[in-house]
Protein backbone atom coordinates (compact mmCIF):
# COMPACT_ATOMS: atom_id res chain seq x y z
CA UNK A 1 0.00 0.00 0.00
CA UNK A 2 2.73 2.40 1.00
CA UNK A 3 4.64 1.46 -2.12
CA UNK A 4 1.56 2.18 -4.18
CA UNK A 5 1.08 5.62 -2.66
CA UNK A 6 4.72 6.35 -3.33
CA UNK A 7 4.34 5.27 -6.93
CA UNK A 8 1.27 7.44 -7.33
CA UNK A 9 3.15 10.42 -5.95
CA UNK A 10 6.21 9.75 -8.06
CA UNK A 11 4.16 9.57 -11.23
CA UNK A 12 2.66 13.05 -10.85
CA UNK A 13 4.82 15.63 -12.56
CA UNK A 14 6.15 18.14 -10.04
CA UNK A 15 8.12 20.89 -11.79
CA UNK A 16 6.59 24.43 -11.51
CA UNK A 17 5.29 24.62 -15.11
CA UNK A 18 4.03 21.05 -14.84
CA UNK A 19 2.14 21.81 -11.65
CA UNK A 20 0.39 24.66 -13.51
CA UNK A 21 -0.52 22.21 -16.26
CA UNK A 22 -1.77 19.79 -13.61
CA UNK A 23 -3.93 22.56 -12.13
CA UNK A 24 -5.44 23.28 -15.53
CA UNK A 25 -6.09 19.55 -15.92
CA UNK A 26 -7.76 19.32 -12.53
CA UNK A 27 -9.90 22.37 -13.33
CA UNK A 28 -11.12 20.78 -16.58
CA UNK A 29 -11.98 17.56 -14.74
CA UNK A 30 -13.79 19.52 -12.01
CA UNK A 31 -15.89 21.49 -14.53
CA UNK A 32 -16.80 18.26 -16.35
CA UNK A 33 -17.80 16.60 -13.07
CA UNK A 34 -19.98 19.52 -11.99
CA UNK A 35 -21.74 19.66 -15.37
CA UNK A 36 -22.35 15.91 -15.20
CA UNK A 37 -23.58 16.00 -11.61
CA UNK A 38 -26.09 18.69 -12.48
CA UNK A 39 -27.53 16.72 -15.39
CA UNK A 40 -27.59 13.49 -13.38
CA UNK A 41 -29.52 15.29 -10.63
CA UNK A 42 -32.07 16.57 -13.12
CA UNK A 43 -32.43 13.17 -14.78
CA UNK A 44 -33.66 11.33 -11.67
CA UNK A 45 -32.64 8.08 -9.97
CA UNK A 46 -34.29 5.55 -12.27
CA UNK A 47 -32.66 6.96 -15.36
CA UNK A 48 -29.32 7.20 -13.57
CA UNK A 49 -29.32 3.54 -12.52
CA UNK A 50 -30.32 2.40 -16.00
CA UNK A 51 -27.44 4.43 -17.40
CA UNK A 52 -25.06 3.18 -14.76
CA UNK A 53 -26.08 -0.46 -15.34
CA UNK A 54 -25.49 -0.04 -19.06
CA UNK A 55 -22.17 1.68 -18.36
CA UNK A 56 -20.97 -1.04 -16.02
CA UNK A 57 -21.95 -3.81 -18.45
CA UNK A 58 -20.26 -1.99 -21.30
CA UNK A 59 -17.28 -1.32 -19.04
CA UNK A 60 -17.03 -4.97 -18.06
CA UNK A 61 -16.73 -5.89 -21.75
CA UNK A 62 -14.13 -3.15 -22.32
CA UNK A 63 -12.24 -4.44 -19.30
CA UNK A 64 -12.15 -8.02 -20.59
CA UNK A 65 -10.73 -6.83 -23.90
CA UNK A 66 -8.36 -4.33 -22.23
CA UNK A 67 -6.82 -7.15 -20.18
CA UNK A 68 -5.51 -8.79 -23.34
CA UNK A 69 -3.89 -5.55 -24.53
CA UNK A 70 -2.31 -4.89 -21.20
CA UNK A 71 -1.02 -8.43 -20.59
CA UNK A 72 0.64 -8.60 -23.99
CA UNK A 73 2.08 -5.11 -23.58
CA UNK A 74 3.35 -6.02 -20.12
CA UNK A 75 5.27 -9.00 -21.41
CA UNK A 76 6.62 -7.94 -24.84
CA UNK A 77 5.86 -4.19 -25.03
CA UNK A 78 3.75 -4.61 -28.13
CA UNK A 79 0.30 -3.21 -28.79
CA UNK A 80 -1.40 -6.19 -30.36
CA UNK A 81 -3.70 -4.31 -32.73
CA UNK A 82 -5.24 -7.58 -33.85
CA UNK A 83 -6.62 -8.07 -30.36
CA UNK A 84 -9.80 -6.08 -31.01
CA UNK A 85 -10.49 -8.30 -34.00
CA UNK A 86 -9.91 -11.46 -32.00
CA UNK A 87 -12.74 -10.09 -29.86
CA UNK A 88 -15.03 -9.77 -32.90
CA UNK A 89 -13.88 -13.20 -34.00
CA UNK A 90 -15.23 -14.49 -30.67
CA UNK A 91 -18.66 -13.16 -31.56
CA UNK A 92 -18.48 -14.56 -35.12
CA UNK A 93 -17.20 -17.99 -34.13
CA UNK A 94 -19.76 -18.35 -31.36
CA UNK A 95 -22.53 -17.33 -33.73
CA UNK A 96 -21.47 -20.05 -36.13
CA UNK A 97 -21.16 -22.63 -33.35
CA UNK A 98 -24.59 -22.02 -31.81
CA UNK A 99 -26.42 -24.76 -33.78
CA UNK A 100 -23.77 -27.25 -32.64
CA UNK A 101 -24.76 -26.59 -29.04
CA UNK A 102 -28.48 -26.57 -29.86
CA UNK A 103 -28.72 -22.85 -29.14
CA UNK A 104 -31.67 -21.91 -31.35
CA UNK A 105 -33.29 -18.62 -30.56
CA UNK A 106 -36.86 -18.98 -29.32
CA UNK A 107 -36.56 -22.74 -28.83
CA UNK A 108 -34.37 -22.75 -25.77
CA UNK A 109 -34.58 -20.58 -22.67
CA UNK A 110 -34.14 -20.43 -18.92
CA UNK A 111 -31.99 -22.97 -17.07
CA UNK A 112 -31.69 -25.18 -20.17
CA UNK A 113 -29.39 -22.50 -21.58
CA UNK A 114 -26.71 -22.80 -18.95
CA UNK A 115 -24.85 -25.91 -20.13
CA UNK A 116 -24.91 -25.16 -23.87
CA UNK A 117 -23.80 -21.58 -23.20
CA UNK A 118 -20.99 -22.84 -21.00
CA UNK A 119 -19.89 -25.16 -23.81
CA UNK A 120 -20.14 -22.30 -26.29
CA UNK A 121 -17.94 -20.12 -24.09
CA UNK A 122 -15.29 -22.81 -23.64
CA UNK A 123 -15.01 -23.74 -27.32
CA UNK A 124 -15.08 -20.13 -28.55
CA UNK A 125 -12.48 -19.03 -26.02
CA UNK A 126 -10.27 -21.93 -27.06
CA UNK A 127 -10.53 -21.11 -30.76
CA UNK A 128 -9.79 -17.40 -30.22
CA UNK A 129 -6.88 -18.32 -27.98
CA UNK A 130 -5.35 -20.62 -30.59
CA UNK A 131 -5.79 -18.01 -33.32
CA UNK A 132 -4.01 -15.41 -31.19
CA UNK A 133 -1.19 -17.81 -30.32
CA UNK A 134 -0.85 -18.43 -34.06
CA UNK A 135 -0.73 -14.69 -34.73
CA UNK A 136 2.08 -14.27 -32.22
CA UNK A 137 3.97 -17.21 -33.70
CA UNK A 138 3.68 -16.00 -37.29
CA UNK A 139 3.70 -12.21 -37.04
CA UNK A 140 5.44 -11.18 -33.80
CA UNK A 141 7.91 -13.83 -32.70
CA UNK A 142 10.10 -13.68 -35.82
CA UNK A 143 10.34 -9.91 -35.22
CA UNK A 144 11.15 -10.03 -31.53
CA UNK A 145 14.61 -8.56 -32.04
CA UNK A 146 13.57 -6.23 -34.86
CA UNK A 147 12.98 -2.49 -34.29
CA UNK A 148 9.73 -1.75 -32.43
CA UNK A 149 7.97 -0.39 -35.50
CA UNK A 150 8.14 -3.72 -37.36
CA UNK A 151 5.84 -5.79 -35.10
CA UNK A 152 3.53 -2.80 -34.76
CA UNK A 153 3.04 -2.84 -38.51
CA UNK A 154 2.52 -6.60 -38.65
CA UNK A 155 -0.02 -6.15 -35.83
CA UNK A 156 -1.99 -3.68 -37.93
CA UNK A 157 -1.65 -6.09 -40.83
CA UNK A 158 -3.01 -8.96 -38.75
CA UNK A 159 -5.92 -6.77 -37.67
CA UNK A 160 -6.77 -6.01 -41.30
CA UNK A 161 -6.41 -9.69 -42.17
CA UNK A 162 -8.82 -10.84 -39.46
CA UNK A 163 -11.35 -8.16 -40.43
CA UNK A 164 -10.98 -9.18 -44.05
CA UNK A 165 -11.57 -12.84 -43.27
CA UNK A 166 -14.70 -12.06 -41.25
CA UNK A 167 -15.92 -9.72 -43.96
CA UNK A 168 -15.52 -12.41 -46.62
CA UNK A 169 -17.08 -15.01 -44.34
CA UNK A 170 -20.28 -13.18 -43.36
CA UNK A 171 -20.25 -9.95 -45.33
CA UNK A 172 -20.06 -6.36 -44.09
CA UNK A 173 -23.56 -6.44 -42.56
CA UNK A 174 -24.86 -6.12 -39.05
CA UNK A 175 -25.52 -9.74 -38.13
CA UNK A 176 -28.28 -10.60 -35.74
CA UNK A 177 -26.94 -12.24 -32.58
CA UNK A 178 -29.54 -14.32 -30.68
CA UNK A 179 -31.14 -12.77 -27.64
CA UNK A 180 -30.93 -15.38 -24.88
CA UNK A 181 -30.63 -13.14 -21.86
CA UNK A 182 -33.79 -12.22 -19.92
CA UNK A 183 -35.11 -8.71 -20.44
CA UNK A 184 -36.44 -8.44 -16.89
CA UNK A 185 -35.65 -5.57 -14.55
CA UNK A 186 -34.38 -6.23 -11.06
CA UNK A 187 -35.75 -3.86 -8.40
CA UNK A 188 -33.03 -2.42 -6.19
CA UNK A 189 -35.26 -0.48 -3.81
CA UNK A 190 -37.04 2.85 -3.91
CA UNK A 191 -38.81 1.96 -7.14
CA UNK A 192 -35.50 1.95 -8.96
CA UNK A 193 -34.58 -1.00 -11.19
CA UNK A 194 -31.53 -2.28 -12.99
CA UNK A 195 -31.53 -4.51 -16.09
CA UNK A 196 -30.97 -8.22 -15.36
CA UNK A 197 -29.00 -8.42 -18.60
CA UNK A 198 -26.47 -5.88 -17.34
CA UNK A 199 -26.14 -7.69 -14.01
CA UNK A 200 -25.46 -11.00 -15.77
CA UNK A 201 -22.81 -9.45 -18.01
CA UNK A 202 -21.10 -7.87 -15.02
CA UNK A 203 -21.19 -11.11 -13.00
CA UNK A 204 -19.67 -13.20 -15.81
CA UNK A 205 -16.96 -10.58 -16.44
CA UNK A 206 -16.10 -10.35 -12.76
CA UNK A 207 -15.84 -14.14 -12.46
CA UNK A 208 -13.46 -14.19 -15.44
CA UNK A 209 -11.36 -11.33 -14.07
CA UNK A 210 -11.12 -12.86 -10.60
CA UNK A 211 -10.05 -16.18 -12.12
CA UNK A 212 -7.41 -14.40 -14.16
CA UNK A 213 -6.07 -12.58 -11.11
CA UNK A 214 -5.89 -15.79 -9.10
CA UNK A 215 -4.18 -17.55 -11.98
CA UNK A 216 -1.59 -14.83 -12.48
CA UNK A 217 -0.84 -14.43 -8.77
CA UNK A 218 -0.98 -18.03 -7.60
CA UNK A 219 -0.18 -20.51 -10.36
CA UNK A 220 3.32 -21.44 -11.42
CA UNK A 221 2.69 -20.42 -15.04
CA UNK A 222 1.09 -17.17 -13.87
CA UNK A 223 4.14 -16.35 -11.79
CA UNK A 224 6.37 -17.24 -14.72
CA UNK A 225 4.38 -14.74 -16.79
CA UNK A 226 4.92 -12.03 -14.20
CA UNK A 227 8.61 -12.92 -13.93
CA UNK A 228 9.02 -12.76 -17.72
CA UNK A 229 7.24 -9.39 -17.79
CA UNK A 230 9.55 -8.01 -15.10
CA UNK A 231 12.88 -9.29 -16.42
CA UNK A 232 13.04 -11.55 -19.42
CA UNK A 233 16.73 -12.52 -19.10
CA UNK A 234 16.42 -13.29 -15.41
CA UNK A 235 13.33 -15.37 -16.15
CA UNK A 236 15.33 -17.41 -18.64
CA UNK A 237 18.04 -17.91 -16.04
CA UNK A 238 15.37 -19.46 -13.78
CA UNK A 239 14.70 -22.03 -16.46
CA UNK A 240 11.50 -20.40 -17.67
CA UNK A 241 10.74 -21.09 -21.33
CA UNK A 242 9.87 -17.55 -22.32
CA UNK A 243 8.42 -18.51 -25.69
CA UNK A 244 5.95 -20.77 -23.95
CA UNK A 245 5.18 -18.07 -21.41
CA UNK A 246 4.59 -15.46 -24.11
CA UNK A 247 2.34 -17.90 -25.98
CA UNK A 248 0.41 -18.48 -22.75
CA UNK A 249 -0.08 -14.73 -22.40
CA UNK A 250 -1.52 -14.45 -25.91
CA UNK A 251 -3.64 -17.53 -25.21
CA UNK A 252 -5.20 -16.17 -22.03
CA UNK A 253 -5.66 -12.63 -23.37
CA UNK A 254 -7.48 -13.96 -26.44
CA UNK A 255 -9.60 -16.36 -24.40
CA UNK A 256 -10.87 -13.37 -22.42
CA UNK A 257 -11.43 -11.41 -25.66
CA UNK A 258 -13.34 -14.37 -27.09
CA UNK A 259 -15.55 -14.50 -24.02
CA UNK A 260 -16.04 -10.74 -24.31
CA UNK A 261 -17.12 -11.26 -27.93
CA UNK A 262 -19.91 -13.65 -26.86
CA UNK A 263 -21.00 -11.35 -24.04
CA UNK A 264 -21.03 -8.43 -26.48
CA UNK A 265 -23.21 -10.42 -28.89
CA UNK A 266 -25.61 -11.52 -26.17
CA UNK A 267 -25.87 -7.99 -24.78
CA UNK A 268 -26.26 -6.00 -28.01
CA UNK A 269 -27.74 -8.76 -30.22
CA UNK A 270 -25.84 -7.45 -33.18
CA UNK A 271 -22.30 -7.83 -34.46
CA UNK A 272 -20.41 -6.66 -37.51
CA UNK A 273 -17.05 -7.65 -39.01
CA UNK A 274 -15.40 -4.29 -38.32
CA UNK A 275 -16.72 -3.79 -34.76
CA UNK A 276 -13.39 -4.86 -33.30
CA UNK A 277 -11.53 -1.90 -34.71
CA UNK A 278 -13.40 0.74 -32.77
CA UNK A 279 -14.09 -1.47 -29.79
CA UNK A 280 -10.43 -2.39 -29.66
CA UNK A 281 -9.51 1.29 -29.58
CA UNK A 282 -11.87 1.86 -26.66
CA UNK A 283 -10.41 -1.10 -24.82
CA UNK A 284 -6.89 0.08 -25.60
CA UNK A 285 -7.81 3.50 -24.20
CA UNK A 286 -9.06 1.74 -21.10
CA UNK A 287 -5.74 -0.10 -20.75
CA UNK A 288 -3.77 3.16 -21.08
CA UNK A 289 -6.18 4.88 -18.69
CA UNK A 290 -5.55 2.25 -16.02
CA UNK A 291 -1.80 2.09 -16.69
CA UNK A 292 -0.59 -0.08 -19.54
CA UNK A 293 0.83 -3.41 -18.42
CA UNK A 294 -1.10 -3.25 -15.17
CA UNK A 295 -3.80 -5.94 -14.87
CA UNK A 296 -5.99 -4.35 -12.15
CA UNK A 297 -5.48 -1.06 -14.02
CA UNK A 298 -7.01 -2.49 -17.20
CA UNK A 299 -10.05 -3.73 -15.29
CA UNK A 300 -10.51 -0.36 -13.59
CA UNK A 301 -9.86 1.57 -16.80
CA UNK A 302 -12.38 -0.56 -18.70
CA UNK A 303 -15.12 -0.02 -16.17
CA UNK A 304 -14.47 3.73 -15.97
CA UNK A 305 -14.43 4.14 -19.75
CA UNK A 306 -17.68 2.13 -19.93
CA UNK A 307 -19.37 4.36 -17.37
CA UNK A 308 -18.07 7.56 -18.97
CA UNK A 309 -19.28 6.24 -22.34
CA UNK A 310 -22.79 5.58 -21.07
CA UNK A 311 -23.03 8.84 -19.12
CA UNK A 312 -21.97 10.73 -22.22
CA UNK A 313 -24.53 8.80 -24.29
CA UNK A 314 -27.22 9.20 -21.67
CA UNK A 315 -26.78 12.77 -20.49
CA UNK A 316 -25.00 14.53 -23.31
CA UNK A 317 -25.06 13.48 -26.95
CA UNK A 318 -24.19 10.17 -28.57
CA UNK A 319 -22.20 11.90 -31.27
CA UNK A 320 -19.84 13.38 -28.70
CA UNK A 321 -19.09 10.10 -26.92
CA UNK A 322 -16.29 8.96 -29.17
CA UNK A 323 -14.71 12.41 -29.06
CA UNK A 324 -14.91 12.37 -25.29
CA UNK A 325 -13.35 8.92 -24.90
CA UNK A 326 -10.40 9.75 -27.11
CA UNK A 327 -10.05 13.16 -25.48
CA UNK A 328 -9.61 11.18 -22.28
CA UNK A 329 -6.89 9.11 -23.93
CA UNK A 330 -5.02 12.29 -24.89
CA UNK A 331 -5.72 13.80 -21.49
CA UNK A 332 -4.28 10.77 -19.70
CA UNK A 333 -1.22 10.66 -21.92
CA UNK A 334 -0.52 14.36 -21.30
CA UNK A 335 -1.27 14.65 -17.60
CA UNK A 336 -0.65 11.18 -16.33
CA UNK A 337 1.31 9.09 -18.83
CA UNK A 338 1.59 6.19 -16.39
CA UNK A 339 -2.20 5.86 -16.10
CA UNK A 340 -4.28 5.69 -12.95
CA UNK A 341 -2.50 2.75 -11.32
CA UNK A 342 0.92 3.09 -12.92
CA UNK A 343 2.62 1.34 -15.82
CA UNK A 344 4.12 -2.09 -15.45
CA UNK A 345 6.75 -2.60 -18.04
CA UNK A 346 9.93 -4.67 -18.11
CA UNK A 347 12.80 -3.15 -16.19
CA UNK A 348 15.88 -2.20 -18.06
Amino acid sequence: MAAMVQRLRASVITTPTASLINLVGLAIVAVALVATAQRVYQGGATYFFQTLGFGLAQGAIFALVALGYTMVYGIIELINFAHGDVFTLGAFVSLALMPVFGLNEGRISGAALILPLLGLFVVTMLICALVNVGIERVAYRPLRHAPRLAPLITAIGMSALLEGVMNVWRGPFNLHYPDFLPSTQIPIGGGVTIAAKAVMVIVVAVVLMVSLTLFVNRSKLGKAMRATAQDRDAAQLMGIDINRTISATFFIGAALAGAAGIIYGLYYNSVQAFDGFQYGLYAFTAAVFGGIGNIPGAALGGILIGVIYSISDGYFTVSWTQVLVFAILIFVLVFRPTGLLGMRVPEK
Binding site: A224, A234, A235, L237, M238, G239, D241, I242
Partner: protein, 236 residues
Protein backbone atom coordinates in the same frame (compact mmCIF):
# COMPACT_ATOMS: atom_id res chain seq x y z
CA UNK B 1 37.02 -34.50 -18.64
CA UNK B 2 36.02 -31.49 -16.61
CA UNK B 3 32.50 -30.65 -15.48
CA UNK B 4 32.40 -27.50 -17.61
CA UNK B 5 34.57 -27.19 -20.69
CA UNK B 6 34.51 -23.97 -22.65
CA UNK B 7 36.74 -24.30 -25.70
CA UNK B 8 37.74 -21.50 -28.00
CA UNK B 9 34.53 -19.50 -27.98
CA UNK B 10 34.17 -16.34 -30.06
CA UNK B 11 31.20 -14.19 -29.06
CA UNK B 12 29.96 -11.14 -30.92
CA UNK B 13 27.49 -8.36 -30.21
CA UNK B 14 26.59 -7.51 -33.76
CA UNK B 15 29.96 -6.76 -35.33
CA UNK B 16 31.78 -6.17 -32.08
CA UNK B 17 33.69 -9.13 -30.79
CA UNK B 18 33.35 -9.37 -27.00
CA UNK B 19 35.07 -12.69 -26.37
CA UNK B 20 38.00 -14.04 -28.41
CA UNK B 21 38.78 -17.71 -28.46
CA UNK B 22 38.27 -18.12 -24.72
CA UNK B 23 38.97 -21.51 -23.20
CA UNK B 24 38.27 -22.36 -19.59
CA UNK B 25 37.31 -25.28 -17.40
CA UNK B 26 35.59 -25.82 -14.10
CA UNK B 27 36.02 -29.13 -12.31
CA UNK B 28 33.86 -30.81 -9.70
CA UNK B 29 34.25 -29.22 -6.30
CA UNK B 30 36.22 -26.21 -7.55
CA UNK B 31 35.81 -22.50 -7.10
CA UNK B 32 37.10 -20.86 -10.28
CA UNK B 33 37.49 -17.10 -10.51
CA UNK B 34 37.22 -15.20 -13.77
CA UNK B 35 38.75 -11.78 -13.25
CA UNK B 36 39.37 -8.79 -15.45
CA UNK B 37 38.53 -5.15 -15.78
CA UNK B 38 35.28 -3.61 -16.94
CA UNK B 39 34.38 -4.67 -20.46
CA UNK B 40 36.87 -7.54 -20.56
CA UNK B 41 34.11 -10.00 -21.50
CA UNK B 42 33.43 -11.69 -18.16
CA UNK B 43 29.69 -11.22 -18.15
CA UNK B 44 29.50 -12.08 -21.85
CA UNK B 45 31.26 -15.36 -21.10
CA UNK B 46 28.75 -16.25 -18.37
CA UNK B 47 25.78 -15.23 -20.53
CA UNK B 48 27.13 -17.45 -23.30
CA UNK B 49 27.51 -20.42 -20.95
CA UNK B 50 23.91 -19.86 -19.81
CA UNK B 51 22.74 -19.86 -23.43
CA UNK B 52 21.50 -16.26 -23.45
CA UNK B 53 24.10 -15.64 -26.17
CA UNK B 54 25.53 -18.10 -28.64
CA UNK B 55 29.16 -18.20 -29.71
CA UNK B 56 30.00 -17.88 -33.38
CA UNK B 57 32.77 -20.45 -32.99
CA UNK B 58 33.86 -22.84 -30.28
CA UNK B 59 32.00 -25.27 -28.04
CA UNK B 60 30.70 -25.43 -24.49
CA UNK B 61 30.31 -28.80 -22.82
CA UNK B 62 28.72 -29.58 -19.50
CA UNK B 63 29.13 -33.04 -18.06
CA UNK B 64 30.36 -34.13 -21.48
CA UNK B 65 27.17 -32.87 -23.16
CA UNK B 66 27.44 -30.21 -25.86
CA UNK B 67 25.32 -27.26 -24.68
CA UNK B 68 26.67 -24.68 -27.14
CA UNK B 69 23.41 -24.07 -28.97
CA UNK B 70 20.71 -25.26 -26.62
CA UNK B 71 18.12 -22.97 -25.05
CA UNK B 72 18.73 -21.25 -21.68
CA UNK B 73 15.89 -23.02 -19.87
CA UNK B 74 17.32 -26.41 -20.87
CA UNK B 75 20.76 -25.41 -19.63
CA UNK B 76 19.22 -24.47 -16.28
CA UNK B 77 17.47 -27.84 -16.33
CA UNK B 78 20.88 -29.51 -16.62
CA UNK B 79 21.99 -27.74 -13.43
CA UNK B 80 23.94 -24.75 -14.73
CA UNK B 81 22.58 -21.78 -12.79
CA UNK B 82 23.52 -18.17 -12.64
CA UNK B 83 23.09 -15.27 -10.30
CA UNK B 84 23.41 -12.51 -12.88
CA UNK B 85 25.21 -9.19 -12.75
CA UNK B 86 23.08 -6.52 -11.11
CA UNK B 87 21.14 -9.26 -9.27
CA UNK B 88 18.15 -8.97 -11.59
CA UNK B 89 15.59 -9.89 -8.96
CA UNK B 90 11.91 -9.89 -9.78
CA UNK B 91 11.53 -6.60 -7.95
CA UNK B 92 7.75 -6.60 -7.73
CA UNK B 93 7.57 -10.08 -6.25
CA UNK B 94 8.12 -11.13 -2.67
CA UNK B 95 11.41 -12.65 -1.53
CA UNK B 96 9.61 -15.97 -1.15
CA UNK B 97 8.27 -15.84 -4.73
CA UNK B 98 11.73 -14.94 -6.01
CA UNK B 99 13.15 -18.01 -4.30
CA UNK B 100 10.28 -20.10 -5.68
CA UNK B 101 11.06 -18.88 -9.20
CA UNK B 102 14.59 -20.16 -8.61
CA UNK B 103 13.13 -23.62 -8.20
CA UNK B 104 11.07 -23.26 -11.38
CA UNK B 105 12.51 -26.31 -13.14
CA UNK B 106 11.97 -28.60 -10.16
CA UNK B 107 8.83 -30.37 -9.14
CA UNK B 108 9.38 -32.20 -5.83
CA UNK B 109 7.78 -30.02 -3.16
CA UNK B 110 9.65 -31.80 -0.38
CA UNK B 111 13.02 -31.15 -2.05
CA UNK B 112 12.14 -27.52 -2.66
CA UNK B 113 11.19 -27.15 0.99
CA UNK B 114 14.53 -28.69 2.07
CA UNK B 115 16.45 -26.26 -0.14
CA UNK B 116 14.38 -23.31 1.01
CA UNK B 117 15.34 -24.18 4.60
CA UNK B 118 18.96 -24.44 3.54
CA UNK B 119 18.85 -21.03 1.85
CA UNK B 120 17.29 -19.54 4.98
CA UNK B 121 20.05 -21.14 7.03
CA UNK B 122 22.72 -19.55 4.80
CA UNK B 123 20.89 -16.22 4.74
CA UNK B 124 18.89 -15.80 7.96
CA UNK B 125 18.10 -12.26 6.81
CA UNK B 126 16.02 -13.59 3.94
CA UNK B 127 13.86 -15.57 6.31
CA UNK B 128 13.04 -12.42 8.26
CA UNK B 129 12.17 -10.63 5.04
CA UNK B 130 10.50 -13.43 3.12
CA UNK B 131 7.20 -11.63 2.59
CA UNK B 132 8.80 -8.33 1.68
CA UNK B 133 8.75 -7.14 -1.94
CA UNK B 134 12.23 -7.82 -3.34
CA UNK B 135 12.61 -4.32 -4.81
CA UNK B 136 12.46 -2.82 -1.32
CA UNK B 137 15.40 -4.85 0.05
CA UNK B 138 18.77 -3.25 0.69
CA UNK B 139 21.61 -3.94 -1.75
CA UNK B 140 23.16 -6.63 0.41
CA UNK B 141 19.83 -8.33 0.99
CA UNK B 142 19.11 -8.23 -2.73
CA UNK B 143 22.43 -9.95 -3.39
CA UNK B 144 21.59 -12.62 -0.83
CA UNK B 145 18.20 -13.07 -2.44
CA UNK B 146 19.79 -13.42 -5.88
CA UNK B 147 22.26 -16.02 -4.63
CA UNK B 148 19.55 -17.84 -2.70
CA UNK B 149 17.38 -17.84 -5.80
CA UNK B 150 20.17 -19.44 -7.85
CA UNK B 151 20.73 -22.04 -5.13
CA UNK B 152 17.03 -22.97 -5.21
CA UNK B 153 17.66 -24.69 -8.54
CA UNK B 154 20.01 -27.06 -6.68
CA UNK B 155 22.77 -26.21 -9.15
CA UNK B 156 25.45 -28.64 -10.30
CA UNK B 157 27.42 -25.55 -11.27
CA UNK B 158 26.76 -22.17 -9.70
CA UNK B 159 27.86 -19.09 -11.61
CA UNK B 160 28.00 -15.82 -9.69
CA UNK B 161 28.41 -12.59 -11.62
CA UNK B 162 29.89 -9.77 -9.52
CA UNK B 163 28.29 -10.82 -6.23
CA UNK B 164 30.25 -8.21 -4.27
CA UNK B 165 29.52 -5.24 -6.54
CA UNK B 166 28.30 -2.18 -4.66
CA UNK B 167 28.33 -3.79 -1.23
CA UNK B 168 29.91 -2.50 1.97
CA UNK B 169 33.23 -4.11 3.01
CA UNK B 170 31.56 -6.10 5.78
CA UNK B 171 28.95 -7.47 3.41
CA UNK B 172 31.65 -8.30 0.87
CA UNK B 173 33.28 -10.47 3.54
CA UNK B 174 29.95 -12.15 4.29
CA UNK B 175 29.25 -12.86 0.62
CA UNK B 176 32.69 -14.42 0.06
CA UNK B 177 32.45 -16.55 3.18
CA UNK B 178 29.08 -17.78 1.94
CA UNK B 179 30.67 -18.65 -1.40
CA UNK B 180 33.13 -20.79 0.56
CA UNK B 181 30.30 -22.37 2.50
CA UNK B 182 28.35 -23.19 -0.66
CA UNK B 183 31.45 -24.74 -2.18
CA UNK B 184 32.16 -26.73 0.99
CA UNK B 185 28.89 -28.61 0.45
CA UNK B 186 30.22 -29.76 -2.92
CA UNK B 187 28.81 -27.19 -5.34
CA UNK B 188 31.37 -25.99 -7.89
CA UNK B 189 31.36 -22.22 -8.36
CA UNK B 190 32.39 -20.09 -11.32
CA UNK B 191 32.93 -16.63 -9.89
CA UNK B 192 33.13 -13.49 -11.98
CA UNK B 193 34.59 -10.56 -10.07
CA UNK B 194 36.21 -7.19 -10.37
CA UNK B 195 37.32 -7.58 -6.79
CA UNK B 196 40.24 -9.76 -7.92
CA UNK B 197 41.89 -9.87 -4.54
CA UNK B 198 38.95 -11.43 -2.73
CA UNK B 199 37.95 -13.63 -5.63
CA UNK B 200 41.42 -15.15 -6.04
CA UNK B 201 41.63 -15.65 -2.30
CA UNK B 202 38.52 -17.86 -2.37
CA UNK B 203 39.23 -19.54 -5.70
CA UNK B 204 41.17 -22.72 -6.31
CA UNK B 205 42.01 -21.54 -9.79
CA UNK B 206 41.60 -18.39 -11.76
CA UNK B 207 41.57 -16.96 -15.28
CA UNK B 208 42.45 -13.41 -16.24
CA UNK B 209 40.39 -11.97 -19.07
CA UNK B 210 41.64 -8.96 -21.02
CA UNK B 211 39.74 -7.40 -23.94
CA UNK B 212 37.96 -10.66 -24.60
CA UNK B 213 40.95 -13.00 -24.39
CA UNK B 214 42.19 -15.15 -21.55
CA UNK B 215 45.71 -13.91 -20.96
CA UNK B 216 46.69 -15.78 -17.85
CA UNK B 217 45.63 -18.76 -15.78
CA UNK B 218 46.83 -20.51 -12.67
CA UNK B 219 45.91 -21.36 -9.12
CA UNK B 220 44.37 -18.62 -7.02
CA UNK B 221 47.62 -18.25 -5.06
CA UNK B 222 49.81 -18.10 -8.16
CA UNK B 223 47.70 -15.37 -9.69
CA UNK B 224 47.61 -13.40 -6.45
CA UNK B 225 51.40 -13.55 -6.36
CA UNK B 226 51.90 -12.78 -10.06
CA UNK B 227 53.45 -9.39 -10.67
CA UNK B 228 51.31 -8.33 -13.65
CA UNK B 229 48.05 -9.40 -11.97
CA UNK B 230 49.06 -7.41 -8.92
CA UNK B 231 49.84 -4.41 -11.06
CA UNK B 232 46.75 -4.56 -13.25
CA UNK B 233 44.01 -5.70 -10.89
CA UNK B 234 45.13 -5.47 -7.32
CA UNK B 235 46.42 -1.92 -7.44
CA UNK B 236 49.80 -2.82 -5.99
Amino acid sequence: MSLLEVSGIDVFYGRVQAVRSATLEVDTGEVVALIGSNGAGKTTTLRTISGLLHPLRGTIKFNGLDITRIEPQKIVGLGVCQSPEGRRLFTRMSVLDNLRMGAYTRSSRADIKTDMDRVFELFPRLKERMNQIAGTLSGGEQQMCAMGRALMARPKLLMLDEPSLGLSPILVETIFSIVREINATGTPVLLVEQNANKALDVAHRGYVLETGSIVKTGSGKELLASADVQKAYLGM
